[in-house]
Amino acid sequence: MDLLSQLRGQIADFSAFLHREGFVDDQFTQLQKLRDESSPGFVVEVVSLFFEDCEKLVNNMAKALEQQIVDFKQVDSHVHQLKGSSSSIGAARIHNVCIAFKTCCEDQNRNGCVRCLQQVNHECIQLKNNLQTLFNLEQQIIAAGGSIPAKQ
């Protein structure tokens, strides 16, 4: 099997894994479809923006939860942002944690919020690593003379 076919097989398997495990959902596939000659870097760009945003929000939420008196409305507004962004890029696991996180905010449950924040952080790191792997595979395909998406 030539290198290109090998790589394509690898990326197909990895993508299936990401979907199966719920790291990404159909919305991510939608984003990948938006990539074309005029915007080859679209997915990488949006994903980078997402993780930048994620980091900022996580830091802000951590600070807010450390306060003597927690401003749950503040935390909730950050969660709302993250919930929206994660849904828009198809980051399914992160989105699901945000749903639970919102409930904790509404219940003014500090411990619950702290747990959710830890989970968000964990999921962000995992997704970042996974998507980096995916993007690396795509780069290898391009370097091997293939194109993303595969031309029929």
Binding site: L34, F42, H80
Partner: protein, 159 residues
Amino acid sequence: MANTSSFSSSPSTKFSFDEKPHVLAVDDNLIDRKVIERLFINSTCKVTTAENGKRALEYLGLADGQHPNHNDLKVNLIITDYSMPGMTGYELLKRIKESPTMKEIPVVVVSSENIPTRINQCMQGGAQEFLLKPLQLSDATKLRCHIKKAITRGVCRRR
């Protein structure tokens, strides 16, 4: 005697059939703005984004203290998020529909939350449509079809 109808029967010279529809997308979330922008660019539209209602009104020349827009601003569709700080998408919708110069522009409201009272409120307020996030390419394509039909029918913004 003079024709005072708001709609001309033939397309105004500002609307050539080859011209790309112009969409104004309003959303406080940067990632959502990027995605919506790409959705519409991929549907061959021109896109301008605004990060909140106030900026959107400024762009349209409807902000407090601004004079009504007499220049060549042509917007064929406004798509706005519902939940935004400062001014909600519904409040923005109302301001646009109250404007003699901009009220004909279709306004689509999008939201991540499926709340019937919210949907009713927006539809009563004159929204063209209420869509749930996340938006997909099929939504943008469908909306673009509506815009093109409206242009072809010769519906134009009354100056």
